[in-house]
Symmetry: C2
Subunit: 137 residues, 2 copies
DNA sequence: GATAGGCCTTCCAGTAGATGGAAGGTCAAG
DNA sequence: CTTGACCTTCCATCTACTGGAAGGCCTATC
């Protein structure tokens, strides 16, 4: 594991997949804490910041709101919360994720079904296109 | 199965979980076709419209853009596309969904791990909160 | 030492995807 | 005959970015 301790915003942007501008926005919006500044006033990031940003990136692309992500990250950071409370919130999130996985699986089935019934030739349509039955999840 | 053939927007909103205002917005935005109007100029919907709206609702909540959803629905509607093309696009979507499922599974693991390590008592924090290692997906 | 590129700041504009409200009108049920 | 649900159009607000401009500092290269 390389110890990239003094990364610039550009480097961390490239590593995390989150644009520099969006990282600054997240800082403003309180999703992530205010980044430490070097002597040159540049923001400095570590590997764990890259992890956090990747986490945010993933969660956002999976339909979690910025508020949900913020709360989730706060869950990890806030030492004043009781173990009971953290556990309760975390388990609620797990349940929500299981629901999302089930829904994705349903949509996958619908689309895979469409693909399956397509002959894959030059004919103008797939049999299933006539009816909207495929959306019958 | 009840044959709700002449549903109003309010009824379909309630059944699909998509607010009436949003349904009108989807019509404007070309996500769904212009709804048939009754003699009273009211939009009329059928059961299949409810299915479609539920599909849109799910897909949106899972991080698909409105454009992606629109294209996906067009895939079912457009009879001019070749079977080959439909199959190709459908399979690409299946691959994307599999990726999303994998990411959700990773996030689930992270959060379940946090919950697991919480004692669930009144102590002020969970052991894992000290380090950000839990995000090491 | 000049020039280029990455960073800093602040600010303002625009986009997507809704969501809410107001204005003004129709319609069907109690 | 008054509610309540629908119709229309329009305009404002919100979230979560994304982009650009202005003005300035840092760092590396020619």
């Amino acid at each position: 594991m390389s110890d990239h301790i003094g990364m610039t915003i550009g480097e961390v942007a490239q590593r995390s997949g989150v644009p520099a501008k969006t990282i600054r926005y997240y800082e403003d919006a309180g999703v992530i804490g205010r980044a430490l500044r070097g002597e040159n006033k540049y923001r400095t990031y570590s590997d764990s910041d890259v992890q956090t940003l990747r986490f945010i990136h993933r969660a956002r692309s999976l339909g979690f709101s910025l508020k949900e992500v913020t709360d989730l990250l706060a869950l990890y950071r806030n030492r004043r919360r009781t173990s009971r409370e953290v556990k309760k919130i975390a388990l609620a999130h797990v349940a929500e994720i299981d629901r999302k996985i089930a829904e994705l699986t349903a949509i996958r089935k619908t689309i895979a079904n469409l693909a399956e019934r397509c002959r894959g030739d030059d004919r103008p349509d797939c049999p299933i296109l006539d009816e909207f039955e495929a959306l019958d999840l």
